[in-house]
C-alpha cells in the first residue's frame, strides 16, 4: 500500500505543485493519478521514490516512511516506468532489464536469466535480447521499460505516462497487455496519465487532481463517471461520461435474438416467414459458418433467388457477445444503418442481434440494478442462457439445413464466460 499523508510540495519560488494530498493506493491494484498538465501528478509520483522530496507530510510505502532508508536503496525496491522508456542506449535489451537485479548484487547470469523470464512475460521475442534499444520500435521499447521495472520483483510499481508516446493502436495493445500482466503479478501500482480514457480503462481507483495538486475526487472509475464530485471533475470527464460508463457493463446479459438471422441460401418465402414470425423489420444474412454478411429488408425481397444473392446493407461492425461491454454493443447498433447490433462469438460467428431499444433497456436495467459494478462477472448468464435457448430454437427453424451449426456457436460464448 502507498499512503500519502497530507503531502505538500512547495518550490523555493513559492509555486505549490502538490497541496496537502492524502490518498491510499490499495495493495495489488492500479491507482491512477489523472489530471490536466500542471496538476502535480508526476510530482506526486516522484515523491514516492524520492526523485522529488516532499516539503510537508509523509509518504508510507507498505507502512514504512519513504525517508527512513537511503534513497538509492528505496528506489531499488520500487519499479519505475517512464514516458520515453528511458532505456540505457548503451546496453542490450537483456542487460537493460537486468539492471536492478545487478544493482542488488545478483550475478550476471542469474540476472540475465531473470531478464529472459521477463521478456517472455511482457511478450518480447528472445531474439531481441542482444539488440540495442534504438533497434526496437517504440512499443517494444515500452515493453522493455515495463520488464526492467519488474525485474527485481518489487511490490510497488510507479508508472509515469508509460503509454502516451506511442501511436493509438500500439497503445491499446500495450494497455491490454499491461492488464494481462497485472492480473498475473498483482503489483501495487501508481499510474500517472493525462488521458481520462486510459484512466478509466486501467484504473481500479482513480484520483483526479486539479491545478496546484489538489485532489478533486478519489473513487472507482464507475462511481467517478456516475457521480463526479464537482464541475471540474465533470468537465474533465468529458461530455460522453455516460457512454464511457457503459464500459463497465458487460454485454453478456443482453437479450440477443436469433430469429432475424438467416442463412445465405434461404429463399424469399422462407425469409419472409422468418421476418413475419417475429415482426422483424430486417434480417441478418450469414454465411455457412454463420459469419455476418449484411442486412436485408424482407419487404423488398422478390423473385426466387436466395437472400445471399440480393443486395445487402452493411452491418457496420459486430461486438463480442461474451466479452465486450454494453458500450461496444451500443456502438455497433448506432453504427449500423438498420439500428441493430450484431453480436458474435470468438470465431466471428453470429450469436444473435439486438435493436437499439433492446440495448437501451439493458442499459436502464444495468443502471437500476447495479450498485457494485466490478464484483459479479457473468452474473447475467442464467437469464441469458434461457433466452438464448429460446432464440436458438427459432434460428434452427429458420435454417433447417444447418441446425448443428446454429446450435454450436450460440452455446460457445456461454461456456467461455464461465
Amino acid at each position: 500500500m502507498i499512503s500519502f499523508e497530507r503531502v505538500t510540495k512547495r518550490y523555493p519560488d513559492g509555486t505549490v505543485a502538490v497541496s496537502s494530498l492524502s490518498l491510499e493506493a490499495p495493495d495489488g491494484a492500479i491507482t491512477v493519478l489523472v489530471g490536466p498538465s500542471g496538476c502535480g501528478k508526476t510530482t506526486s509520483l516522484r515523491m514516492v521514490n524520492r526523485l522529488i522530496e516532499p516539503t510537508e507530510g509523509r509518504i508510507l510505502v507498505n507502512g514504512v516512511d519513504a525517508r527512513q532508508q537511503p534513497a538509492a536503496e528505496l528506489r531499488r525496491g520500487i519499479g519505475y516506468v517512464i514516458q520515453q522508456a528511458g532505456l540505457f542506449p548503451h546496453r542490450t535489451i537483456v542487460d537493460n532489464i537486468a539492471t536492478v537485479p545487478r544493482l542488488l548484487g545478483q550475478s550476471r547470469s542469474s540476472a540475465r536469466n531473470r531478464a529472459f523470464e521477463l521478456m517472455e512475460l511482457v511478450g518480447l521475442d528472445k531474439s531481441l535480447a542482444k539488440r540495442y534499444p534504438h533497434q526496437l520500435s517504440g512499443g517494444q521499447q515500452q515493453r522493455v521499460g515495463v520488464a526492467r521495472a519488474l525485474a527485481a520483483d518489487p511490490p510497488v510499481l510507479l508508472m509515469d505516462e508509460p503509454f502516451s508516446a506511442v501511436d493509438p493502436i500500439v497503445r491499446k495493445g500495450l494497455q491490454e497487455e499491461f492488464l494481462r500482466i497485472q492480473a498475473a503479478v498483482a503489483k501495487t501500482i501508481l499510474f500517472v496519465t493525462h488521458d481520462i480514457d486510459e484512466a478509466v480503462k486501467l484504473g481500479d481507483k482513480i484520483a483526479v487532481l486539479r491545478q496546484g495538486g489538489i485532489l478533486a475526487q478519489f473513487d472507482t472509475p464507475d462511481r467517478l463517471l456516475a457521480e463526479p464530485a464537482d464541475e471540474f471533475v465533470e468537465q474533465f470527464l468529458g461530455t460522453d461520461r455516460g457512454i464511457k460508463r457503459l464500459t463497465f457493463y458487460t454485454a453478456d446479459g443482453l437479450n440477443l435474438l436469433g430469429g432475424p438471422v438467416v442463412a445465405a441460401d434461404t429463399g424469399t418465402a422462407a425469409a419472409r416467414e422468418a421476418a413475419a414470425a417475429g415482426d422483424f423489420p430486417w434480417l441478418l444474412v450469414v454465411d455457412e459458418r454463420r459469419r455476418p454478411l449484411g442486412w436485408t429488408n424482407p419487404e423488398t425481397l422478390s423473385g426466387s433467388q436466395p437472400v445471399g444473392k440480393t443486395r445487402l446493407v452493411s452491418y457496420g461492425h459486430a461486438f463480442r457477445a461474451d466479452t465486450d461491454s454494453l458500450r461496444a454493443a451500443l456502438d455497433s447498433a448506432v453504427l449500423s444503418p438498420t439500428g441493430w447490433a450484431v453480436g458474435v462469438d470468438a470465431e466471428g460467428a453470429v450469436v444473435g442481434v439486438a435493436s437499439q431499444e433492446t440495448i437501451a433497456d439493458a442499459i436502464r436495467t444495468a443502471h437500476a440494478t447495479r450498485a457494485h459494478p466490478d464484483v459479479t462477472p457473468g452474473r447475467a448468464s442464467g437469464d441469458a442462457a434461457g433466452d438464448d435457448t429460446a432464440d436458438d430454437d427459432t434460428a434452427a427453424d429458420d435454417t433447417p439445413a444447418e441446425p448443428a451449426e446454429d446450435a454450436g456457436p450460440e452455446d460457445r460464448p456461454l461456456e467461455q464466460a464461465r
Binding site: R76, Q84, H90
Partner: protein, 216 residues
C-alpha cells in the same frame, strides 16, 4: 642509404623521433582528457560554471606556444615536460567542450530512469553517463590527438624536443630539404594512423552506436 637514415646532426634515429613524438603528443592528449573529465562533469552539473571555464580554456589556447615554452624553460628546463605542458593546456580547449557536450547529450529521461533504478551518483556517472557520452568525447579526443601531434613540431625550436618536428628545424638549418619532406610525411602518416586507431577504439567502446552517425 634508406630514406629513414638520418644525418648525425639530428642526434636521434627515426625510431627515436617517432617514440618521442608519440609519447609526448599522445601522452599530453591523455593527460588533457584526465583533466577534462572532472572539469567537464562539474560544468555539466553546475551550468553557470561552464561559460567562464569555456572562456578560460579558449583564451589560453590563444597563447603562442613559443611564449609558453620560454616561460616554462625557467622551471622545467630543456626537457620533454616543457613541450608536454603546453600540449596538455591546448588540448583542454577541445576536450572540455567535448566532455560537457557528451554529458549533456545524455537524454534526461535516461538520467531520471537511472536515478529511479537506484544508481548512486558515482555509479550513474561511470555506468550510464560516461558510456553514453563516449561517442562525443571520442570525437573530441580524435581532434585533440591529431592537433597535439601537429602542434608538438614547434618543440623542435627548443632543440630536439619536437619529435618529427626536429626534422623541420634541422633540415632548415642544414638546407636539407629531404629531412623536411620526411618530417612532413611522417607527421601526416602518424596523424592518419592515430585517427584510424582511435576510430577503431571508439567502435570497440561503443558497439551500440556503431550503425548510427557519430557526431563529429
Amino acid at each position: 642509404m634508406s630514406v629513414f637514415d638520418l644525418p648525425s646532426y639530428v642526434q636521434n634515429d627515426y625510431l627515436g623521433l617517432m617514440t618521442q613524438q608519440i609519447e609526448v603528443s599522445l601522452g599530453a592528449c591523455a593527460a588533457g582528457l584526465g583533466i577534462s573529465l572532472p572539469i567537464g562533469q562539474a560544468c555539466a552539473r553546475w551550468r553557470q560554471a561552464y561559460p567562464p571555464v569555456l572562456v578560460f580554456v579558449t583564451v589560453i589556447y590563444s597563447i603562442p606556444s613559443i611564449a609558453l615554452f620560454v616561460f616554462l624553460v625557467a622551471y622545467t628546463h630543456l626537457t620533454e615536460t616543457t613541450v608536454f605542458i603546453p600540449l596538455v593546456i591546448y588540448s583542454l580547449a577541445i576536450l572540455v567542450p567535448g566532455v560537457v557536450d557528451g554529458i549533456r547529450a545524455v537524454p534526461p529521461e535516461v538520467r531520471i530512469a537511472a536515478d529511479a533504478m537506484g544508481f548512486g551518483p558515482a555509479r550513474r556517472y561511470l555506468q550510464v553517463e560516461l558510456p553514453i557520452a563516449t561517442p562525443t568525447i571520442m570525437a573530441a579526443v580524435r581532434v585533440a590527438a591529431v592537433s597535439s601531434i601537429s602542434l608538438m613540431s614547434v618543440g623542435g625550436v627548443l632543440g630536439n624536443l619536437g619529435g618529427f618536428g626536429n626534422l623541420f628545424t634541422q633540415g632548415l638549418r642544414h638546407f636539407e630539404i629531404r629531412l623536411v619532406w620526411l618530417g612532413l610525411f611522417s607527421l601526416l602518416a602518424l596523424a592518419l594512423v592515430v585517427d584510424l586507431a582511435l576510430r577503431a577504439l571508439q567502435r570497440l567502446l561503443t558497439p551500440w552506436s556503431a550503425r548510427r552517425s557519430v557526431r563529429a
